[in-house]
Amino acid sequence: MRANLNLFLRTPVKAAYKVDFFSMDLEGSREVLISMTRYWFGLFSHRRSDGIWKGMLQVRLEDVADDAAAIAALGPDPGEIGTGVTP
């Protein structure tokens, strides 16, 4: 993650991909996940001036071919390099 920090920060992501980016941990604390859902939903669900639904788009990301391409692009896991030998 440290090696690819720019992929997790809002400003560089917005500059590179023209999207507003906020990340969430699906495997973090459940209570935080609920609070965050409540907050982002409140912020993005309706237009403030007239209460009209803005709507949210759900994009599924579990595409095996995409995953393989992404792993290839990232290269080997730095944490695993040099740890392949067991006594």
Partner: protein, 312 residues
């Protein structure tokens, strides 16, 4: 987005408080969430800084939100009620502006009515509300700005809903019966229609629930303001020439304090202090009496003239 800065500031501050609350909730495992929330927090902080850096507002604006019977959630408001309520608010503003500039006659045309014109420039959500703004050309501006008049009008209405009776009486002391009459009409309409109200102008943000509307309407009905001129014999203790205030010992009535009419110049007041202190004089005073249910609850004096008495 409204152009009423206070609403905008309150909105961003509430958002920032929510985000800071979420950040405080995060643990070590919520790394990604922290990135997103901190980015949002920084954006909101910049927004607040930008709002605070704006120059002071010079144009008049006020937001009137209505709730209760005439309103169907955020969907709509009864048109007759809305038109009447906004019209009555506009009347109050016109009278405050006239009161602060040329003076408001007992009856007849309200001076400068055109200059007091506010336009409905937007509807605002949260019950159902209207944003009223000054859109007139700058050359029409008067010495007392329409912004001051709108702020004073909302402060006056605020005083009617105020729990503290003394604060209400002191606010009413500065107005006349005609202005009081428009406030009476405004709150009468609110009560009769079963409406609730929220008023935002300048830094004032006041909500009138059903109890506050009832209290305001009752006060507006039971209060009367009357002006009378009286000549009172006594001795001047002194005047404050710059702040236009006086103190006058009036025999059995005790010491009378109040403002000096602005028609008397600072030089004239300095002459009073040199020549008329402790001299037997007749003071011509305007006495403003605030009555509640007929009983006098407050008297305010304005010194109009001071005449030396010829020794008897």
């Amino acid at each position: 987005m409204t152009s009423l800065r206070k609403l905008e500031r309150d909105f961003v501050r509430a958002d920032l408080a929510a985000v800071q609350g979420l950040i405080a909730q995060l643990g070590d495992e919520d790394v990604m969430a922290r990135f997103g929330l901190e980015a949002r927090r920084d954006e909101l902080r910049q927004g607040i800084a930008a709002l605070e850096a704006l120059p002071e507002e010079v144009s008049a604006s006020a937001a009137l939100f209505f709730g209760g019977d005439p309103v169907v959630a955020a969907r709509g408001i009864e048109s007759a009620f809305a038109g009447s309520a906004v019209g009555k608010f506009q009347n109050i503003v016109a009278m405050v502006l006239a009161h602060e500039t040329k003076g408001l006659g007992q009856r007849g045309v309200v001076p400068n009515r055109r200059a007091s014109t506010l336009h409905i420039t937007n509807v605002v959500r949260g019950s159902f509300g209207f944003l009223l703004e000054e859109v007139q050309a700058p050359q029409q501006r008067l010495e007392t700005s329409l912004k001051d008049a709108v702020d004073k009008a909302t402060q006056l209405l605020d005083a009617f809903g105020e729990q503290d009776e003394e604060r209400f009486r002191s606010a009413v002391e500065d107005i006349d019966d005609r202005l009081l009459g428009t406030a009476r009409e405004f709150f009468g309409l609110m009560r009769q229609s079963g409406a609730t109200l929220r008023l935002v102008s300048g830094n004032l943000d006041r909500s009138f629930g059903a109890h506050a509307v009832e209290r305001a309407a009752e006060r507006a009905t039971s209060t009367a303001v009357e002006d009378a001129e009286e000549i009172i014999r006594g001795h001047l203790s002194g005047v404050l020439p710059e702040s236009h205030q006086f103190e006058f010992r009036a025999g059995e009535r005790g010491t009378i304090r109040g403002n000096v009419d602005r028609a008397l110049t600072t030089n004239q007041l300095e002459t009073f202090n040199r020549e008329l202190v402790h001299v037997d004089t007749d003071a011509r005073l305007r006495v403003r009496r605030v009555r509640r249910d007929g009983a006098i609850v407050r008297e305010a004096y304005t010194l109009l003239e001071l005449m030396t008495r010829i020794a008897e």
